[in-house]
């Protein structure tokens, strides 16, 4: 990075990176701090385990620190950091599962096909206090964890972390068109999982019972 004209950095990050590369290691924490949450949620979206996610996050930050002099600013620093985290998490998953003959790369079949919603229950607007409700959080966490990894990762990067389509494609190493397709399907799957209400009481043959917390 030093000596080159960065294309994707704001001036503050550029300055921090320069300071770290010039030996001021303490500036690294300041550089990463705005993205700590992104790093953790990226790791847990792959690993689905908080302790593993923390371990991977620490490894990813260490790797970013060691490789910062090689960062060429071809993407934003945050995208680069998330990409490192994502790759570390995938590596850990492969390592932990290598004795299980279980492929980390899930089948891509059906990804391009149309998806039809399962039910059409009306869903009232979400009240603000509901978002702080433990039951809501648990329902959402369960719904996201029920997704296959390729949908879970997309939801994390696009809808939780608000990365752009281009940034998400860079992190995952897939075309932007696939990001759009997967995100679309993931959202409809989540809607199907959540629309019946947190206790799952929904029957097409009965009137909808308002069991949802929102």
């Amino acid at each position: 990075m030093p000596g080159e004209a960065p294309q994707q950095l704001d001036s503050n990050e550029e300055g921090l990176i320069r300071r770290v590369c010039n030996g001021e290691a303490a500036a690294f924490e300041e550089l990463v701090r705005p993205y700590e949450r992104v790093v953790f949620l990226t790791a847990i979206s792959v690993l689905r385990n908080s302790a593993d996610a923390e371990e991977v996050a620490q490894e990813a930050v260490l790797k970013a620190f060691a490789n910062l002099p090689n960062f060429r600013a071809e993407c934003k620093f945050s995208t680069w950091l998330v990409q490192i985290t994502y790759n570390e998490a995938r590596m850990k998953l492969r390592k932990d599962r290598r004795h299980l003959f279980d492929s980390v790369d899930e089948p891509q079949e059906g990804e391009e096909g149309d998806y039809s919603p399962r039910d059409f229950a009306d869903w009232r607007p979400i009240a603000s206090e509901v978002l702080e409700n433990d039951q809501t959080r648990q329902a959402l966490e369960n719904a996201i964890n029920s997704l296959s990894s390729m949908y879970r990762e997309i939801v994390n990067l696009r809808d939780i972390q608000n990365l752009s389509i281009k940034e998400t494609a860079t992190v995952l190493g897939i075309p932007q068109s696939s990001v759009k397709t997967r995100l679309h399907r993931a959202r409809l799957l989540l809607r199907d999982a959540l629309a019946p209400g947190i206790d799952g009481r929904w029957s097409a043959k009965q009137d909808y019972r308002k069991v949802r917390p929102w």
Binding site: A25, A26, F28, E29, V32, R33, E36, R37, V39, F40, L41, S50, E54, A57, Q58, E59, V61, L62, F65, D114, Y115, S116, P117, F120, A121, D122, W123, P125, I126, L131, E132, T136, R137, L140, E141, I144, V155, D159, I160, N162, K180, L183, H184, R187, L188, L190, R191, L194, A195, W214
Partner: protein
Amino acid sequence: MTAIEISCAEVWREISNYLGGEISAELRDRMQAHFEVCRHCSAVLDGTRNVVELVGDGRVFPIPEGFSRRLYRKIGPR
């Protein structure tokens, strides 16, 4: 052009792009007209919007307490 000229299946296919404002003005207008007359698609739209809102709210996915403090420990003292 009548509102129903776009099918429900086409609407479902484009709902995410609609929410993200990533469709043409012409398609957006056709979808809006469809939502006004199709209760099912309107429900799917509202539900999907709620999902995006729920998932994107920072309060829903807190990071573990002390995570920030522990994050840099492998780097060592700086």
